[in-house]
């Protein structure tokens, strides 16, 4: 692990009623040593402990890929679905059971390639979901194919001479969708920031989209090496309503005050490639939340029958 990693995992647990981060662990993660997915899992477990969420009251929905094994490793309800389709499942679950906390975990192939259509529309539905895009810029599980987010020139099994297209930027794409209500970026090598970003995402009412930059130890170990080695290449977006991770200002000299309600600046910042930017790009809780606007009052079976009788009067001969 990188020397900059600040481990905040080992919280003391004095109260037996209280669930500790490790209580949210189910099976041992079977990712490769050094996989960025571990960092995301640790941050999520800390968040769950911080919020003291009941394991039966939350669900983790994923697609297919290394990162989509995530639900198997969390003590919660989980749905390890099919490639690219985590968002429709999560949307349906949330519509049926709005009281559950629903988390979605996708890889870059899952979200930005095979499931891209769902990503655009789920952003627009703005259902109250906490959405983690675990973006390591490569297809790992299928063994080293170029992903939409792979930097141009990436050597992979499907582009042995280097990938030919510039990468798709998930932040720009999400910020371009109407009704997008929460867009943030963080990185696996800055656990404090990762944790703080997930905390903000969880607290946001709406579709909280978090892109987590991470490295695949097998196929993209060096994709962020420059940024990991030289914190000056990273700019933190800070604001009282943004992601607030104490102490990081000592690590990252470059920081920018960015009001996350400013969509124009958010888009402009997402488009810039001069520095890597971590933090809250955009957040607006005023947008309609799909599971709120589609919630209808339950109706008893007897009442339904009474109404159906009236309905059938319309068709009576």
């Amino acid at each position: 692990m990188n020397s900059n990693v600040i481990s905040l995992l080992n919280l003391e647990n004095d109260n037996p009623q209280c669930l500790a981060a490790e209580d949210y662990q189910k099976d041992e993660g079977k990712w490769c040593a050094g996989c960025g997915d571990f960092g995301a899992l640790n941050a999520v477990k800390r968040l769950l402990a911080k919020e003291q969420l009941k394991p039966e009251k939350m669900a983790f929905v994923s697609g297919i890929g290394c990162s989509s094994r995530f639900p198997h490793y969390v003590n919660a309800y989980g749905f390890h679905g099919i490639h690219g389709r985590a968002l429709p499942i999560a949307t349906g679950l949330k519509l049926a059971r709005p009281e559950l906390d629903v988390f979605v975990v996708m890889g870059d192939g899952d979200c930005t390639s095979i499931g891209a259509g769902h990503w655009i529309h789920a952003t627009r539905y703005n259902a109250n979901l906490t959405v983690l895009l675990l973006d390591n810029n490569i297809y790992g599980l299928t063994k080293n194919q170029t992903s939409p987010t792979s930097p141009q020139g990436t050597i992979s099994n499907t582009s042995p001479s280097g990938s030919v297209l510039p990468p798709l930027d998930p932040l720009q794409a999400t910020l371009g969708v109407s009704n997008a209500s929460f867009v943030a970026q963080t990185a696996d090598w800055v656990p404090a920031h990762l944790y703080a970003t997930l905390q903000a995402a969880y607290e946001h009412r709406g579709f909280s989209f978090v892109r987590i930059l991470q490295r695949c130890p097998k196929f993209t170990p060096d994709v962020f090496t420059e940024q990991v080695k030289n914190p000056d290449l990273t700019e933190l977006l800070v604001h009282e309503n943004g992601v607030n991770a104490p102490g990081l200002d000592k690590l990252f000299k470059a920081s920018r005050e960015h009001d996350p309600t400013d969509i124009d600046e958010a888009r402009a910042l997402a488009q810039r490639t001069d520095l890597l930017r971590l933090g809250m790009f955009f957040r607006d809780e005023s947008f309609p939340v799909y599971d709120d606007i589609r919630t209808v009052s339950p109706v008893s079976a007897q009442e339904k029958i009474r109404k159906l009788e009236k309905e059938f009067d319309r068709y009576a001969v």
């Binding site: 039966e56 390890h80 349906g92 519509l95 049926a96 059971r97 029958i305 009576a316």
Partner: protein, 620 residues
């Protein structure tokens, strides 16, 4: 036919008639036919209505591709299908008339009341087109009667486009002596949100049509009716399916627009929120299946509604539902295929893909309603089976049922039709998400929110705890348990009823919407002294029990289906190369009986007469 000779009007009593109202798109044929059909039903006649729909919204007017309209078959007895050719037509122009003629839709002696103004139209091309159409149709013995529909309509309204349909209704009302007071009530109901003047004008047009017919047509038909002894309703199959979904307690329908299924969601969208549910219009067919699956996972039994091309897109999600044993109801309103095929027209071509349309072994339940009434009840059955068996249930209707209109006995609602509330009580220690009963494969459904039930659902091979397991034993056990459920369901079913004698020379086996036409053909064969029976299957997966024994009682067995099969004797087609109708494939494989088939895919429902002719051919 009994004719009463009369110096003025000949009045014939017939047991039934089939009437077409054919117009350009947007000229109100549907409204005319709707009121006419409803009036017949209220007067105690059996009725079946079929829409003639162009694929385009507004195709060029006055052409053979613009035909829009309705066929109404009504009679003294119950009417179960659209019957054979039409006996009478009201046509607003020569080209729509010609298009129906070319489709062989008219009986050889059909009476065709058609707009005559085209004959003397100012445009020479129009006049010529009219003359050519009349010439082409003169090959038949049609009784072509010119009617100044537009001229008469303009005496009441300024724009004949909004009125000709009601004048036409008046013609039909007089010819068939329909009760004007019923028609008036229907019209008042249609325009109840408009000023009373609108109803008055429309009724005035009907009366004018009646008067014109009285003064100019020298014939009338009497179709007697029987007193209505039970409460009945009249609706389309898609309306029935939508109401069935509500009656079944389904609270989420996720869909993507596709013809001819979409109107199910229109019906649902209009009412479901009063029942605590919603229609979610998804971004695509795949997402519609996914949202429905997610909602079912969350404790609802959700519905997704589609047609063939949508089924193709949903396959991966259906397999996931089957693998993870999450109940899901899928309504497939079949249309012609493959690919975009015949979007507005009927076919029974999704049977094999519904049964086998997934990689791997993916057992699911498939049922096919045989009537509009069954479109309603099937949704309730489907929901209950899906939940009990933790399985995907596909309900196969088709474009014929979807837009056909038929009366049926008003259902007596039962609160048990509704879904039971989800049991969220804490799970006993050690209960696993797939604690399959080794006999039946059944297991308790655990819904998120249940304390102690946390597990991860996966489409990967898994054990009883839902843990991913690739070992041979786990995979084989999972396959066995998922498959066993179908056999268990079959053990609860009764053998299908036989229409006609319990044994004989020929058994016709159909499925789904063809029941009425097949049984009518069997009746004709019976009347002609032939030993023919029929049997209409509802359950296609699992099949109803006892089929092999039933088939053994007949010298020959053949399926009748609206799909493609090869004909022996065609180039290259032999016993070895012949591809059979879809049900025939299944029955041959399941029973090892040498079952023949007669199939047709004309993009329209089968006619009793065509089935009858196939019976004559096959019984030899």
């Amino acid at each position: 036919m009994n004719s009463i000779a009369n110096s003025k009007t000949s009045i014939s009593t017939v047991s039934e008639h089939t009437v077409e109202i054919i117009t350009d798109s947007g000229e109100g044929a549907q409204k005319c036919a709707h009121v006419f059909g409803q009036t017949c039903a209220k007067m105690g006649n059996g009725v079946w209505t079929v829409e003639i729909i162009p694929a385009e919204i507004e195709p060029p007017a006055h052409t053979t591709t613009s035909t829009s309209g309705n066929i109404v078959r009504f009679g003294t007895e119950k009417i179960t299908n659209w019957g054979d050719q039409s006996k009478l037509a009201v046509a607003f122009n020569d080209q729509v008339c010609l298009s129906r003629h070319r489709l062989d839709s008219f009986d050889d002696n059909c009476i065709i009341l058609h707009e005559c103004s085209w004959e003397t139209h100012e445009d020479e091309n129009v006049r010529e087109q009219y003359a050519k159409a009349m010439e082409e149709m003169s090959s038949k013995n049609y009784r072509l009667i010119k009617v100044p529909i537009e001229e008469e309509t303009l005496k009441v309204v300024d724009n004949a486009q909004h009125g000709k349909n009601m004048f036409a209704l008046g013609l039909l009302a007089e010819i068939y002596q329909r009760d004007l007071s019923i028609i008036e009530k229907q019209i008042a109901h249609i325009f109840r949100h408009k000023p009373a003047k609108i109803t008055e004008i429309n009724v005035e047009l009907v009366k004018r049509g009646m008067a014109w017919a009285r003064d100019n047509l020298k014939f009338q038909y009497i179709i007697e009716s029987k007193p209505v002894v039970e409460n009945r309703v009249v609706m389309t199959g898609n309306q029935a399916a939508a109401l069935g979904a509500v009656a079944a307690g389904m609270e989420l329908c996720a869909m993507y627009p596709i013809t001819p299924a979409t109107s199910v969601s229109h019906e649902l969208a209009a009412i479901i929120e009063n029942y605590g549910g919603i229609v979610h219009q998804a971004e695509d067919e795949i997402a519609a299946a996914g949202v429905a699956l997610g909602a079912s996972y969350g404790g609802k039994v959700a519905l997704t509604v589609t047609s063939g091309p949508g089924m193709a897109l949903k396959t991966e999600f259906l397999a996931l539902a089957i693998m993870s044993e999450i109940p899901l109801v899928v309504l497939d309103v079949q249309r012609g295929g493959p690919s975009t095929g015949l979007p507005t027209k009927v076919e029974q071509s999704d049977l094999l893909s519904s049964l086998y349309g997934q990689p791997g072994d993916a057992p699911r339940i498939v049922i096919a309603p045989r009537s509009i009434e069954e479109c309603f009840h099937s949704m309730i059955t489907a929901r209950r089976i899906a939940e009990t068996f933790r399985c995907v249930v596909i309900v196969l209707t088709d474009a014929n049922l979807a837009s056909g209109v038929q009366q049926f006995t008003r259902p007596e609602f039962d609160s048990r039709w509704q879904q039971d509330p989800v049991d969220f009580s804490a799970l006993p220690e050690g209960l696993r998400p797939y604690d399959w009963d080794p006999e039946t494969g059944l297991s308790r459904r655990i819904v998120p929110g249940t304390p102690g039930g946390q597990h991860t659902v996966t489409g990967l091979a898994h054990d009883e705890s839902s843990k991913v397991s690739y070992d041979p034993e786990s995979n084989e056990r999972g396959c066995r348990m998922r498959s066993r459920k179908l056999a268990v369901l079959q053990s609860t079913l009764l053998p299908p009823p036989i229409y006609g004698e319990e044994k004989g020379d020929l058994l016709v086996v159909g499925w789904g919407s063809t029941q009425g036409a097949i049984e009518e053909a069997v009746d004709r064969a019976h009347d002609a002294g032939l030993s023919v029976s029929s049997c209409q299957l509802t359950f296609l997966s699992p099949l109803e029990p006892g089929l092999k024994e039933i088939f053994s009682r007949y010298r020959k067995v053949m399926t009748v289906e609206i799909n493609y099969s090869d004909t022996i004797g065609d180039p290259y087609i032999t016993e070895e190369t012949r591809r059979y109708g879809q049900l025939a494939w299944i029955l041959r494989a399941q029973t090892l009986v040498d079952i023949d088939c007669w199939t047709s895919c004309p993009g329209q429902p089968l006619r009793p007469n065509d089935i009858y002719n196939s019976i004559l051919e096959k019984i030899k």
